[in-house]
């Protein structure tokens, strides 16, 4: 059953990638799409659009989706709380704060590098606070909420304090945008996903146990203090580059794990890959809608994801039993 689910979702992902390649501001027919993909003579324009714009963007969307969904599932288990995602516990917001500061200080020099360094640096502070916390249960979640609220408030302050073009580009980036993605950015996002996955290798069993509660995991012999650090570090690696390069893409980390569980992938060995595939599908579909639905105007990714993801989550809720 799990192999069938994985196969079906992989097929849906592939179809969504093909559709995302096909649809865009520059309308292509099927022949232009194929000609552009294979760089046939006479298809130089479609080749350039597909290889320089759409393909890196689709791959970045997919990689971000996988990373954010996996991080969301890991955070929900680390906090033993199903309503947690990276925005709520401050990792995304602190990465966004750092990214915003990086962009402002870059003064148009290598913005990507400054944004990544800023995101990682500030998100590390948040993760250190979380990792060193001795709180468990609801107090740990509320501690994360407080850190998130501080980071969000500081981010709003930085955005409000910026002027002119800086303010506009910050606002566009904060709400999530893949419009400036390059192949270099795709490579960084992919490396971050790879590194995060390496950290999480062999952690699925412990994540299963801790999702029932930190105290109960410790009573079963899990060294939750040191493992909590590994899990939070993995989330930092998965989330910070994604926020730095694509802005805050909300909802995926919350919704994808829930949909995965509804489809039967509950244990982390299945949950992480299935949620990852769902995350990729969500972000690719949302990004395709963002750049096509309103003509030349590109709708910020967070808005599309919220409008697309909330109904999905409501459907999931309908299928869940009441307490």
């Amino acid at each position: 059953m799990k192999k069938q689910l994985f196969g079906s979702l992989s097929a849906v992902l592939l179809i969504s990638m093909v559709l995302a390649l096909y649809f865009g501001a520059a309308g292509f027919g099927l022949s232009e799409l194929l000609g552009g993909l294979t760089n046939s003579p006479g298809f130089e324009f479609s080749h350039s659009v597909i290889w320089d714009v759409r393909l890196p963007r689709i791959l970045a969307a997919g990689t971000c989706g996988v990373s954010l969904a996996i991080a969301g599932a890991v955070l929900q288990s680390t906090f033993a709380n199903p309503i947690v995602d990276s925005s709520l516990v401050g990792i995304s917001s602190s990465a966004a704060l750092g990214g915003a500061l990086g962009l402002l200080f870059s003064a148009n020099r290598n913005q990507m590098l400054f944004s990544i360094l800023g995101s990682v640096a500030v998100a590390i502070i948040c993760v250190l606070f979380l990792a060193r916390s001795k709180f468990t249960g609801l107090r740990f979640t509320l501690f994360g909420f407080a850190l998130g609220a501080i980071a969000s408030a500081l981010l709003a302050l930085v955005t409000a304090g910026s002027r002119g073009a800086n303010s506009r580009s910050l606002t566009t980036w904060i709400f999530g945008s893949l419009s400036l993605i390059t192949w270099q950015a795709v490579a960084i996002l992919f490396l971050a996903l790879l590194l995060g996955s390496v950290f999480l290798r062999n952690q699925t069993h412990s994540l299963d146990i801790v999702s029932m509660g930190l105290d109960s995991a410790r009573h079963l012999g899990q060294d939750t203090d040191s493992k909590r650090k590994i899990w939070l570090l993995s989330c930092l690696v998965l989330i910070a580059p994604s926020v730095a390069l694509c802005g805050v893409i909300g909802f995926v980390g919350l919704a994808a794990p829930h949909v995965a569980r509804m489809l039967g992938a509950v244990r982390h060995k299945q949950l992480l890959p299935v949620a990852g595939l769902l995350g990729a599908i969500f972000v690719i579909c949302a990004d395709t809608l963002s750049r096509t639905i309103a003509g030349a105007f590109e709708i910020p990714l967070s808005i599309t994801l919220g409008l697309l993801g909330a109904p999905v989550l409501l459907l999931v809720l309908r299928g869940m039993p009441n307490d």
Binding site: P82, M212, D215, H219, L220, Q222, V266
Partner: protein, 230 residues
């Protein structure tokens, strides 16, 4: 020499939480196989004492099954003692089999299937392994949690009001299941009828101090009631 497996010994525990003295110079002893009930009014320090005895929080010199708890590793402690999980509704829809299999020691995974079946049969829930843990009633969840402690293979079980939120029949069933584990039990409770029926020893606490700690045969009903009357 007496085999210390299942023994609990705590000396001179003082616990201060949020600048308040919760436990005041507590010493405690439970022999292997005894059923030791901790009673006392709300706020007396019963749950804190239970966590100190289970090496969940530090306080005093603690020995579990003859092992110095302060120098034991987390996996070692898990082999010596288990805590009965509270019957709060779990957040994620794992199968009962999955949840129970986590309690099987990693050195002993070869026969997980049949051990889980046996533990389920022991608590009267045979054939429920493929049900979701989120779909159980409080009573069923407590039974599953008892099955988990049976699988953990430790000699000592700590439980904090295991009968809470259960109807009178289920309360008695849960205590019978716990007694049938034949392990050392240290349990906090407010149910004095249950205490009289199942306990071998009682420790009464008021304001973080032990008022008495003795065998059930030596405790009068009046003594128990006075603990709650102040």
């Amino acid at each position: 020499m007496i085999n210390p497996s299942g023994s609990v010994q705590l000396d001179n525990a003082n616990v201060v939480l949020s600048n308040r003295l919760i436990l005041d110079n507590i010493s405690f002893r439970a022999d292997p196989g005894s059923i030791h009930c901790l009673i006392g009014p709300n706020g007396a320090g019963k749950s804190t004492l239970l966590r100190v005895l289970g090496a969940d929080i530090a306080g005093g010199k603690l020995s579990l099954s003859g092992v110095d708890a302060a120098s034991a590793s987390i996996p070692e402690l898990a082999r010596i003692r288990s805590f009965l999980r509270s019957n709060e509704k779990p957040n994620f829809p794992y199968l009962i089999f999955d949840v129970l299999s986590w309690s099987v020691s990693s050195q002993d995974l070869t026969d997980t299937d049949s051990r889980v079946q046996q533990a389920l049969a022991a608590v009267g829930m045979h054939g429920m392994e493929n049900h979701k843990i989120t779909e159980l009633s409080s009573g069923q969840l407590t039974k599953i949690n008892i099955a988990a402690t049976i699988l953990q293979s430790s000699d000592i079980i700590f439980a904090d009001e295991p009968e809470a939120n259960l109807d009178p029949v289920a309360r008695k069933q849960i205590w019978e299941l716990l007694r049938d584990t034949k392990k050392t039990l240290v349990i906090t409770t407010h149910d004095l009828e249950i205490v009289k029926e199942f306990a071998t020893h009682i420790t009464a606490l008021v304001d973080g101090r032990i008022v008495f700690s003795k065998a059930i045969a030596d405790v009068t009903e009046q003594e128990m009631l006075e603990i709650y009357q102040g």
